[in-house]
Structure formats: structure tokens, C-alpha cells
Amino acid sequence: MIRDFLRRVAALIKKEFRTIWNDPKSRAIIIAMPLMQLLVFSNAVTMEVRNIDTVVLDRSRSVESRELLSRFENSSRFREFYYAENEKEFRQYLDTQKAQLGINIPNDFARGIKSKTGANVQIISDGRQTNSAAIASGYSSQIINLYNAELAGNKGSGLNITVRNWFNPNLEYKWYILTIIVAMLSLVTTLILTSLSIARERELGTFDQLIVSPLSSFEILLGKSIPPLVIAMTLTMVMIGIVIVFFHVPFNGSIILFFVSILISLMAIVGVGLYISSICNTQQQAILSVMTFMMPAVLLSGFISPIEDMPICLQYLTYLNPVRFFMVLSRGIILKGVGISDVIVNIIPLLIIALITLTLASRTFKRKLG
């Protein structure tokens, strides 16, 4: 009895692997696409603000104004400096986005400093790019503050701030982005792979042939979920390996915890993919549904904006989102090295999601037939 069961499931799994592997398109989906994206995105997707082009309108043309500007020029954050002759030109640089930051030094600048009555500097940032604008003006005020402190002389009574960044001491943006990119890529690959699997068979008519065979719903479910799970697991491990070896991201957590949490995360995602696939009649429908699911799932995962900053009702909604827990787990274990209790808290919701979606999927196989 149990041997018959295993034999049938094994046959189905073997067939799944063969159909995935024999099809050049699915081979591209599982190998070429994720690895290429990993390499491209790791270099392209960055929220760090570097290479700021600046336009300067220096009306003071004094030693003091030169001194301030040279500090900007020596900072590695700023790239190009354009010197405008008049207000109109200054404005043009910002309008055309040739410069992201403007420094306007009035003609009484040097006088104000010398007479100790105070001087003004105007910093203009491009609000069309909110994030970069905030960061760029942050850098500028840092530079100006330092200069300010020097001018005021070292009285020794000021407050000294010491900032230390835990888990990523130099705020290496790559560490953060790479762990997320790996999670994202395995998410996309798994979803596409699973969502196509049943829909493709339905479209080609082979699913009828499976239904007619003595395979039960549960056996079909197993045969359909194990191959993508194995493929996605392998892919994730390879990508994490690349990230550690080639990008020198430190792996602080336990390998076993990582393996278990990735496996369970992927199980939940396989569940979602198979459920999508089971309600779709064609591959086209399946791909469209994946897109529809992906957008909110990624946006509400805490990748773009922290979950804590969302409205309360949306925060509760994220509990339904497997990507959220997947993200927390992969980032937490790699960078922070979180312990077993933190992992379990995030694994339980994933298990529940997996259970629900997989049950729904296997029920829907049959219901679609009537």
C-alpha cells in the first residue's frame, strides 16, 4: 500500500523534473534568470546617495567661501561642481536635473563670519527625489556643521555624538540589498515555476490524463510541490553561496536554522504558487495572477518601507504575506544571527500559510473539474 503510494509519487516527481529540465524556457527561469539578475541588481539597486552633482552660486568670492566649498569638493559623496554666474543659470542647472544640489552663498557671507554676527548659506535640494534630497542635504549640513564648529573655535564644552551601526558597522548597503535580492529572486522563480506547472498541464490537456490515473489529489500535490521546492532550495543556497564568497557578506547565523527557515518559507511560497496555478486554466492567466500577487506582496513585505511605519490596518494585513516573514528570516539570520526563538516566531505563520494554500490547491484541482 505505502509502497504503491511512494512509487506513484516518485514517478510523478521524476516526470516533473524531466519536464522542467527538458524545456529550455523553464531551464532559463531556474538558472540563467536568477543568477544574471543577482549580478546585475547587486550593482544597480542601491539606495546609497553618491555622485551628487552640485551647482554653486558663490557671490561672496572670499577666502571663507572658498574654504567651505573646498570641503564639499573633498567629500567623496559629491562628484561634479558647476559654478553658476547668476541666479538664472543656477536655477537652470536644478531645473534640468544636471545638479541635484545647489549651494547659494550670499555676498555678505565673509563679512558675517568676520564680524561674528553670523552668516547664511542656502542649500537647495531637488525634492522630486525625496529620498536622495534628504540624504544630500544631510551630508551638506554635516559638512557645514563641522566648518561651523571650527570657526567657533574648540571651546570643549560641546556635545560629541558617537554613532555605531550594529550588524552592519559601515552601513554597507550591499549587505542589506544582497540578502533581500536573494530572497526576492527565489520568490519570483518559485512562484513562476509552480504557478505554471498545473496551468500548463491544463492547457495542454495532460492534467486530465493525470486525473484519470489512479493518482489521488494528495499524491498529485506532493508530486507537484516537491520538485519546485528542491529546485528553489538549491537555487537559494547557490545564490547565498555567491553572496558570501564573492560579495563578502558575513554569515552570522546558524546554517541549520537558515536551511530550515528557507525551506519553510519556500514551502509557503510553493503553496501560493500551486494555488494560483490550480485556479488558472492557461499559463497566461497564471503569469498574470503571479504579477497581481507579487506587487502588493513585495511592497507590503518591509523591503521598501518598514512595516512599523505603515498604517495599523495594513500592518495586520502583512501577517498574511509570506514574503514578509521570508524577508525577516533571511535578513535576520544572515546579518544579525538571530536565535531559535526569533526564528520560530516567524516560522509558525509561514507553516500556517503553507498548510492553508496547499490544502486549497489540492481541493481546487478537483473542484475545477465538475
Binding site: R7, K15, R18, T19, T206, S213, P214, L369
Partner: protein, 214 residues
């Protein structure tokens, strides 16, 4: 419904004495099914397809090799065994589907318009297979819209607008039609008292059922 493709709404049905509602998996292991559209895995080879269906239908690993070789020989697929199924011409695809449906020696076989779009020679071949299987005692259910094919069957159920309008052997049906319409179309080849062809029978019976309704 028998194949598990549709859910029964009420009543009972048994295949080889096994209730399809209570034990669907076991009931299905007694039947072979061949769809109208080619529905095996195109990206797998002929042999890989047969391997899969052999195991899915519960043939043990030891017997699988022997069984697959047997059907490959019976259906003359030896020289194509390593070709991808999607690359085969239609006639061979049909043979492969039949081979896959018969790999576990089912006592009941369902054929859904197996010969639509198949050339005359392959069709003849096909019916020879079907007839020899039925002589071995396999119950075969064929749906078809070729009336000359219907003639080969032992028992025909005529369907019109989703309802059975007549059941019987070919001769019975013809006699029934002849009673409605004594001389269908007088033709030089046919004298009085000769039964109408299957096609004429079908048309007559449909017209009768229409008239009965109105």
C-alpha cells in the same frame, strides 16, 4: 464521470464492481483513458512517457521495463522510442496515447473520439486493435462522429443534444429507423426490405425525436 473527470451529482456507479464514489483511485486503476486531443507529455520521449504512466498506474518497478517494451513492440513504436512525443506525426501520437492507456492491461477502456483527424490507414489499424482487444474481453467505450465506425460496435447509444435518443445493436437501430421511414431514399443499388445505412438511421432517429418533442 467514470474516469473521475466530472463529479457525480447523485446515484452510484461501479467499475469492475468498485464504487467510483467510495474508492475513486482504485476504480480508476481499472480503466484506460485516451483523450481526443493528444495529451501526453510533449517534452518527454516516447519511452519516458510510457515509463511514467506504467508507474502511475501501479506497475511495479521490476515489471515496468518488460511491460513498456511489450507495448512498444505491439504498437510498433520501437524506432521512435527515444523521439520526443511532440515531434511525432499525428498517427504515431495516437498510437502512443493508446499504448499509454493500455499499459496496465485495463479491463475497461475509454476512447474519446480516438480517430478524429487521423488518416484512413491509421484509422483502419486502430480499429483492428480495438476489435482484437474486445475479443480478448476488454470492455471498450468509444465516442465517435463517424457513423461507419459505429458499425463496428456491439452496442450503440445515440446522443442528440445531450440526451440518449436510442440504444441498441447496429441492426436493432436500423430496424427501428426502417419502421419509421420504410423506404428512406430509393436507390438503384438497394432493393425493397434492405436496411438503411448507419448514417441514414441516425438522421431518421434524430428527426423522430424532434417530432416527438414538438
Amino acid at each position: 464521470m467514470m474516469c473521475g473527470l466530472a463529479r457525480p451529482t447523485s446515484g452510484t456507479a461501479r467499475i469492475m464492481g468498485i464504487d467510483i464514489k467510495k474508492n475513486p483511485e482504485k476504480a480508476r486503476s481499472n480503466l484506460g483513458y485516451m483523450a481526443q486531443k493528444f495529451s501526453l507529455y510533449g517534452s518527454l520521449t516516447v519511452r519516458e512517457n510510457l515509463d511514467f504512466f506504467a508507474l502511475a498506474y501501479g506497475i511495479s518497478l521490476l515489471k515496468k521495463e518488460e511491460k513498456v517494451n511489450e507495448v512498444i513492440d505491439v504498437f510498433g513504436l520501437r524506432e521512435y522510442q527515444n523521439a520526443k512525443a511532440e515531434e511525432l506525426p499525428l498517427g504515431l501520437k495516437q498510437r502512443l496515447s493508446m499504448a499509454a492507456a493500455l499499459i496496465h492491461n485495463p479491463p475497461v477502456l475509454f476512447l474519446d473520439e480516438p480517430t478524429s483527424g487521423v488518416d484512413v490507414l491509421t484509422r483502419r489499424d486502430f480499429w483492428n486493435h480495438i476489435i482484437s482487444l474486445s475479443k480478448k474481453g476488454v470492455t471498450i467505450m468509444v465516442t465517435t462522429h463517424f457513423m461507419d465506425e459505429a458499425e463496428y460496435c456491439d452496442r450503440i447509444s445515440l446522443f442528440y443534444k445531450g440526451e440518449t435518443i436510442a440504444v441498441g445493436t447496429p441492426t436493432e437501430l436500423k430496424q427501428k429507423a426502417a419502421a419509421f421511414n420504410p423506404s428512406p431514399q430509393p436507390s438503384p443499388q438497394r432493393g425493397e426490405g434492405v436496411l438503411p445505412t448507419m448514417e441514414e438511421t441516425f438522421i431518421t432517429l434524430i428527426k423522430e425525436s424532434e417530432r416527438g418533442k414538438s
